[in-house]
Symmetry: C2
Subunit: 337 residues, 2 copies
Amino acid sequence: MLTERRDRLLQFIVDEYVRTAQPVASAAAERRSGLPVSSATIRNEMARLEHEGFIEQPHTSAGRIPSDRGYRYYVEELMRPKEPPDSVKQTIRHQFHQATAETAEWARLAASVLASRLSYGALVTAPHAASSHLRSLQLVSVHEYVALLVVVLRETLVVQQTITLDRPHTQDELTEISARLNSLYAGHSADDIRAMQIEHPSVEAEAIQSVLSLMDAQDGQNLGEPFLEGLRELLREPEFARGETILEILDLLAGANPLEAIPLAQAGEDVTFVIGAEHAEDALRHCSVIVSRYSGPAGLRGAVGVLGPTRMHYPRAVSMVRYMSGVMEELLDAYFR
Amino acid sequence: MLTERRDRLLQFIVDEYVRTAQPVASAAAERRSGLPVSSATIRNEMARLEHEGFIEQPHTSAGRIPSDRGYRYYVEELMRPKEPPDSVKQTIRHQFHQATAETAEWARLAASVLASRLSYGALVTAPHAASSHLRSLQLVSVHEYVALLVVVLRETLVVQQTITLDRPHTQDELTEISARLNSLYAGHSADDIRAMQIEHPSVEAEAIQSVLSLMDAQDGQNLGEPFLEGLRELLREPEFARGETILEILDLLAGANPLEAIPLAQAGEDVTFVIGAEHAEDALRHCSVIVSRYSGPAGLRGAVGVLGPTRMHYPRAVSMVRYMSGVMEELLDAYFR
DNA sequence: GTTAGCACTCGCCTATTGAGAGTGCTAATT
DNA sequence: AATTAGCACTCTCAATAGGCGAGTGCTAAC
């Protein structure tokens, strides 16, 4: 804990630097921070804040910018995130209201809303449960030789795949096959189904093969691939204007899902921050990530995150992430009614 | 038509500039072009090519770079695109073999393959027909209050949406409803269905509403949204390293689909080039686009395109675009068998 | 503990300069 | 008439230097 005055000064420096992207000088703080002291005193305080590692100077004679540690202190002690205004909430709710009722679609939309509201990158994963059970399947005739296999997994997760048939089938035949397979396998996990070892004629065998591979694909991941939006917005930030920096980040994102690497939010905390050099990956040393896990019925979980420069508008970002996370949870709850 | 020697010189300049991204000097041409003349002669020829508008100098004392007109002449007269080697073809076929049999998925995969093979941006639209007819629909129970509506449109196009039910329904009930709606509406267009004006109880009414809005969404577009891949690759090109240029392009792409604006390939031509300033949009003045339309049974059409710097490796790009376009057509044909 | 005053540092901007690259032109050659 | 060697000329790029201004740290007074 710092003194009251140094708290306020650090807060001013962060806010100002976030706003202008320029180092903050003592004279500017004197004029605009509201602190009733002269610039000389502010210089003394700044020297001390720098000595303690909360701020730093890009070069000898420039103003100060927050260090990673300064941001960390700021997000933990100083900032007061304020709720998004009702008008914004309403607009967002409206956007979701118009969307189709599919979990993946919600995630995509959430990412897109986050990105455009905050002008940072947004990462949202669709809700996902650790182990899926077959709830039901249905074959839909697309064409006499082609059917669409729709698989409903236990957790409101619907996946599908087309399969080709070795001879023509009508919808009625497919419906019958679906009913037979459902009565055999509904309610079971992939391992269960494999253990049954039932012999099937060709079409049924192929359908079950596909079901198993779809279920395996689901079970094989912790979080799903995140939907990423807001690259354009990110590029607009001055720290990424050089193109190379963003290239590094893109390369990283192509390989790994940064949300996976983020330590899970501790119990009791609703959002997790990873700031600058706290990232394991060097490419993100000038970035901060804010993540919130959301969870729904039946063990469904997912994550909502923002990726921006360390010079991020934290209060706005965190309240938005928190809000979107809540929206995802509400949608899931409503889905189950 | 230029003289044989100027053709070869221009070809050398384009090839060399594409390779190195550096202006080509007369001395370099003397050494590496294979032309049996001195640099002085080459300088004379260059002066003439410049006078005719095929090449230009970035500044007084630099080598020459191709102008848009030079590239245009190059793609039309000079280059000899060579087929991708069999090994590459095989790899690509293999990638498609593993993919699920969905047209949108093919398009996404095609874009991703193109982008990574060529290291440029790739735009591929899923096959799409001008006017869709309802082939069949099927309601799949997801949850007692939620059903997934799967709509098969005439052209192997499957779309879906979840709908919520006002009271619980079993799969059997839903199957029955599906059968009833199918017998009424299968084979008709959205307009037909609207004209029938049949009154339905609540669930059926909602299903039909959704069907209509899905059909409208399909019919409302000429080409679908393209799948865009390869931003990372594009950013790697030196002409886009500055970040701003790519930003302009992203902004443009967010608003409009450049494939739409491209004049349709003329009959008899298989690919269309738009080079540099030939683009209507100023943001693309340093870009070239190569597009190939593909078409399949039942009036299905789509487009495969590459977006790169004007300094693009045209022979490789055009042969790849051509090949991917062919792959899309084959997939569609095979889908109908 | 605070503040005014001031010397000092350092980045940035604007010449200036020199080297190097590459051309265009001229005159000689084939 | 076409080609070529030679050379002066132009222009970019990189390095260097000087001046300006921003902003600090320190000292001494309050």
